[in-house]
Chain length 195, copies 2
């Protein structure tokens, strides 16, 4: 296969990158310094071996145990379950959560053949017991899969007597009611709070 075509095909497998964009990126790399292609190439080639999954929470990090799990200032009694590491990064960026995390690395998706046995529920149960977790906040997406996963986790946690909560759903900050979809508006009304 032609090396340029090969590079274009590989780049086009990235999410949101079509063949047109992949072509532009490939020619950009070809037109830049040889050093840049080499650096980016090495970074991609070695990313899986340089980055480890935290044995306690599934977050990415340089060591066996991630920086958040190691941090003694984080409250071990509140655990936040997320679907993917970028969700954890977004919550950290928001800066309002001071507990610890558990990354599921997936969601229930029965239509795609992803059933409960694919979720790391045993590891989550162990973590809840080991850390004496009092509340599990389920911060999976507000999608069908995210909601199904939240309900499943709530059920699985029942024998442990741990409180399980779900992040709020409603009209986002700055959102116009006029342009908000029906499901979100319905949830915003259901979840209304007294002032």
């Amino acid at each position: 296969m032609d090396p340029i075509d090969e590079l274009i095909q590989l780049l086009a497998r990235l999410p949101g990158i079509g063949e047109r964009t992949a072509t532009r990126l490939a020619f950009y790399v070809l037109g830049s310094e040889r050093e840049y292609g080499a650096q980016l190439g090495a970074s991609l080639s070695h990313i899986h071996s340089r980055v480890k999954r935290c044995v306690q929470c599934g977050n990415y990090g340089a060591d066996e145990v991630c920086a958040i799990c190691k941090d003694p200032r984080r409250d071990p009694s509140i655990l936040c379950a997320v679907a993917r590491v970028p969700d954890l990064v977004a919550i950290e960026r928001a800066g309002s959560f001071r507990g610890r995390y558990f990354v599921l690395h997936g969601l229930l998706a029965p239509l795609d053949g992803i059933g409960p046995e694919k979720l790391p529920v045993d590891a989550l149960v162990k973590r809840v017991k080991d850390d004496g977790v009092k509340e599990l906040i389920v911060a999976t997406p507000l999608s069908v899969e995210g909601e199904a996963t939240a309900l499943y986790l709530a059920q699985a946690m029942r024998p442990l007597g741990v409180r399980v909560s779900r992040i709020a759903s409603g009209v986002p900050h700055g959102g116009e009611l006029e342009f908000t979809d029906q499901v979100t508006l319905g949830r915003a009304f259901e979840g209304r709070r007294e002032l």
Copy 2:
């Protein structure tokens, strides 16, 4: 530097890829098979050494001389000057040009310090003489830089007695006059042809 941050920074140097998209891409690679990161990494690392610039026209290819310059069915008397290889690829895709190419790998841009001495004019003059070129079609972009380069090339070719032409500028296929900018409309009127 953290390996994930490093990968994000390198990806964010690609054109049209901001830090947000770079983050999404980096996590996508981390979440896929190790094999994919390795393949894409190797492809990027070796692209500069696997792809050569054609010594005759500057096009990319696997050999010293590119497939187009080698093709005996291409008319050597018509040469098309383009700024970049993707422009050549686009013209080839359109399929209406049967001559050969000359890739400038740049455009005049005095504001960015790119003067005539950075353009491969000597090589172009040599090519025109060696191949007995009768017409040089300047297919640089219809931008300020592209137009300046076209005028400069026309001047540089004058002593050779070769005919120099410029691709037409006007309203694109399917274009609505209502939404066409003033410069394009002006050019469309200037370049009008008798029916």
